[in-house]
């Protein structure tokens, strides 16, 4: 039914200098559908969304809104048409109440001199009635990330939108919170709103969306009903060839070893975790699961002495460690890859080679402390080749790279010290499907070569796909360990939430 179509994009192109971000793409959105947009980083999803939202002007092509050709020249124009865009980054004012945040744009054009706080709160409560039970009078600062996300959505809804764009809204949400969000999305769709849903997670797309459109290299590839295809088809369309195994093979039985790389006994910081004991065996990849806030990252940071006062016994390859500072941990061969790449993982404005060498500068310097540029570049080149890093020159800043390649720089930095053990916190966050598979393969190779690998992830399919054993953390304690065929979403969620399976189903 063509009259169902609220938005039609035909033959839209957009170039940035020599880069053709969009090459004559088509896209069609119907009222009341949840339409997933899939593609690797750099495929043109964000560019197209920015064109729809009036942030970017297309070089050529046509946008038809509700049967009429339109020119969307600014985000304000997009708002007037009824397009709401919830960006991936939360852009709220943390020190202002939820209600004020939601009605910021209305306040902006209001003529009255005084703020009507009571009125705003009442109106906000009304909006939230269909979303959740957030109190509109609290400050945004005091909300969890997931609730902040809901405030962003509420903000878009108050503009009486007909099209709602959600850019990776679940990136910061737990499984449960994501489910709540999907429920809300479905209700909005049922009321006639068209939703464009951008996500890297196939499971989410297939469980919650009606149709999916795939982009690759700035080109439109296909649009399908999700119930007519398989996740593998979408992935193959995204990468343009067949990826047979998303995850590398696990540790073979014959390769099992009883050698213990890491032995943690009674680790406690008396605040966020206590009495944590576990072991990592040679050749295996150990996954750590847990809800956000369970303390899973804090435990690992505690082992490396990255923050907090920690007591307990840690030994590496049989030798007890006495660490005071993260520096000592690096010296012992134990490194931590941060979950927040841009925030504390890499130096975005600095050259690639300088990033790779940062953990142990002495390795590329003379005994007097003079840095040897050739050694430094050589190290970056060697590790870059090993990780199949795609970059221009090693002197280019890391910010010029895609998310996947930035992550490879961060991993190269870890490998630069020839570590005995690497903790990887969300190793593939913000990384596209191809690079993701590559990183998983690298981790497996490292484990096989005898480097201890511990992976923390909030993406359960990833943990299940790469780990030989999964440690589940609940409220700062080890909730349990699952191994082999027992590594399933149900078992992990069961241990992570502390509910038994029946309660989960209910």
């Amino acid at each position: 039914m063509p009259d169902d179509v609220i938005l039609r994009i035909s033959n839209v192109s957009k170039s940035f200098g020599a880069i053709r971000a969009l090459r004559g793409v088509d896209f069609e959105l119907r009222r009341g559908e949840i339409h997933a947009l899939a593609g690797e980083n750099g495929a043109g999803k964000s560019t197209l969304m920015n064109v729809i939202d009036g942030i970017l002007k297309p070089d050529s092509g046509e946008i038809v809104w509700d049967g009429k050709p339109v020119r969307i020249s600014s985000p304000t124009k997009a708002q007037k048409l009824g397009i709401g865009f919830v960006h991936q980054e939360i852009a709220l004012c943390p020190d202002v109440s939820v209600a004020e945040n939601i009605y910021m744009s209305t306040t902006n054009i209001s003529r009255s001199f005084l703020m009507d706080y009571k009125g705003l709160e009442a109106k906000a409560r009304n909006v939230f009635r269909q979303l959740s039970d957030i109190d509109p009078s609290v400050l945004v600062r005091d909300l969890s990330i997931s609730n902040q996300q809901l405030v962003e959505i509420a903000k878009a809804l108050t503009l009486d939108c007909k099209v709602l764009i959600l850019d990776e809204p679940t990136a910061a949400l737990t499984e449960k919170e994501a489910q709540v969000l999907f429920g809300i999305m479905r209700r909005l769709a049922d009321s006639g709103i068209a939703i464009i849903y951008i996500s890297h997670r196939m499971v989410e797309i297939f469980d919650n969306c009606d149709r999916v459109t795939v982009f690759r290299d700035g080109q439109y590839i296909t649009t399908c009903n999700v119930d007519e295809i398989e996740p593998a088809d979408v992935v193959n369309a995204m990468v343009g060839r067949v990826i047979e195994n998303l995850y590398p093979d696990k540790q073979a039985l014959a390769d099992k070893s009883e050698d213990i790389i890491l032995d943690v006994q009674g680790l406690t910081d008396n605040k966020r975790f206590s009495d944590v004991s576990f072991q990592l065996k040679k050749g295996e990849i150990l996954g750590i699961a847990g809800l956000i806030g369970s303390g899973r990252s804090e435990i690992v940071k505690g082992i490396c002495r990255l923050d907090g006062d920690v007591s307990g016994d840690v030994s590496l390859n049989g030798e007890p460690l006495d660490l005071k500072h993260y520096q000592d941990s690096i010296a012992a061969g134990m490194v931590y890859l941060s979950e927040d790449r841009k925030g504390d993982g890499i130096f975005l404005d600095m050259p690639i080679s300088n990033n790779v060498s940062a953990l142990k500068l002495e390795q590329v310097a003379s005994p007097l402390g003079l840095i040897n540029r050739e050694l430094e570049d050589g190290q970056a080149e060697r590790l870059g080749n090993k990780l199949n890093l795609k970059c221009g020159q090693l002197s280019d800043s890391v910010s010029s790279l895609s998310g996947g390649n930035q992550q490879k720089v961060a991993i190269a930095k870890m490998l630069s010290v020839n570590p005995k053990l690497i903790f990887l916190d969300e190793p593939t966050r913000g990384v596209d499907v191809g690079a993701k598979a590559e990183i998983h393969r690298i981790l497996r190779d490292l484990a096989r070569s005898g480097v201890g690998i511990v992976v923390i992830s909030s993406e359960l399919p990833e943990l299940i796909g790469v780990s030989d054993r999964v440690l589940v953390v609940r409220e700062g304690r080890i909730g349990g360990v699952v191994e082999g065929d027992m590594i399933t979403e149900e078992n992990i969620m069961h241990l992570a939430s502390g509910l038994d399976a029946q309660e989960l189903m209910a």
């Binding site: 020599a18 993260y326 890499i346 953990l359 795609k390 596209d432």
Partner: protein
């Protein structure tokens, strides 16, 4: 098995391209253009006497700029450099008048200024205050101490031995010793900043303090050291000024911090830390003094000079910001 992703947004970067994009190249071009224009506008400009006077005018301040640039790279800032320079002079001068050997007095003064830097570093790294506020307070306190110690009047140091005055007034061949000291400081720190592991950690810390900490770098120690170094160099500059003037002036260096920060920023140092070069900062100093010298030779009112200097700062920072945004 990398997927054919679109090429990174970087056209061919030849060495020439890179050179053209560098801040230093632009500054040198501007300075050269000014030289050409001025040599036509004033016959006096391109003379040895004028050149020497110009370099003498910025050489000592240039030493302070070195310390400031390193501090800016680490993410800090210091508003107290002018007051600390004066305080160094006053402490050394006062001790000398009490009968203490001028070399010993100078060493004590420099040590005192280093201690002031360490004190600020303590407040920034341990108490957790912002550089701006801490150094603002020290700027006022140090100036107050200068006035208190001298009663507000310059201390005439007529009996300074000639070998001490030689630091500020002597020449080696045709070149004033001050300029040689300045060049040595610049070359030494420029080399260390580019090549040593210690100073590389300054860049890491300023570029992303958290990422530096997550690389095992003790960022507080780094910031403590750069803060201390900046004050120590200001103290050192104060001693050279004292030897040059043969007096200690409690009101010396008013507004120096602005000039010094402006030079570093024009030379490419970022106020948010992580970038900057000594060479660029010195070019910033040179540019500012070529402008001053030119305006003086062209008989432009002194009052105009501040307006023009401020405008240059604004223009330089705006151009830089624009280029950064364009590069993405």
């Amino acid at each position: 098995m990398e997927i054919a992703a679109p090429a990174p947004a970087e056209p061919t970067t030849s060495t020439l391209h890179k050179l053209l994009r560098m801040r230093e190249t632009g500054l040198i071009a501007i300075i050269l253009v000014m030289f050409v224009i001025m040599s036509f506008a004033s016959p006096y400009f391109l003379t040895w006497v004028n050149m020497r006077a110009m370099v003498m005018a910025f050489a000592v301040e240039g030493i302070v700029v070195v310390g400031m640039t390193i501090l800016l790279i680490s993410g800090g800032i210091d508003l107290s450099v002018g007051s600390v320079t004066a305080l160094s002079m006053v402490i050394a001068g006062w001790l000398f008048l009490q009968g203490i050997d001028p070399w010993v007095a100078s060493a004590i003064a420099i040590a005192a200024c280093t201690a002031i830097g360490a004190f600020m570093g303590f407040f920034v790294t341990r108490v957790g205050l912002h550089h701006f506020i801490v150094s603002l307070a020290i700027m006022v306190i140090a100036r107050g101490a200068c006035l208190l110690g001298t009663g507000g009047r310059p201390l005439g140091l007529y009996t300074l031995p000639p070998e001490f005055k030689f630091i500020g007034q002597g020449t080696i061949g045709p070149i004033p010793l001050v300029i040689i000291i300045f060049l040595v400081v610049v070359l030494v720190f420029d080399f260390m900043l580019r090549r040593t592991t210690v100073f590389r950690k300054v860049f890491y810390t300023g570029s992303n303090e958290k990422a530096a900490a997550y690389s095992g770098i003790r960022t507080k120690k780094v910031i403590f050291l750069t803060t201390t170094l900046c004050s120590a160099l200001a103290g050192f500059a104060g001693i050279i000024y004292m030897a040059r003037f043969g007096s200690a002036q409690p009101t010396f260096g008013l507004g120096m911090e602005l000039n010094v920060i402006a030079a570093a920023v024009i030379g490419g140092a970022s106020l948010t830390g992580g970038s900057g070069t000594i060479f660029g900062a010195i070019l910033g100093v040179v540019l500012l003094s070529v402008v001053s010298s030119s305006l003086a030779l062209l008989d432009v009112s002194v009052y105009w000079q501040d307006i023009i200097r401020g405008s240059i700062l604004l223009a330089a920072v705006s151009v830089d910001h624009y280029l950064h945004k364009k590069r993405g």
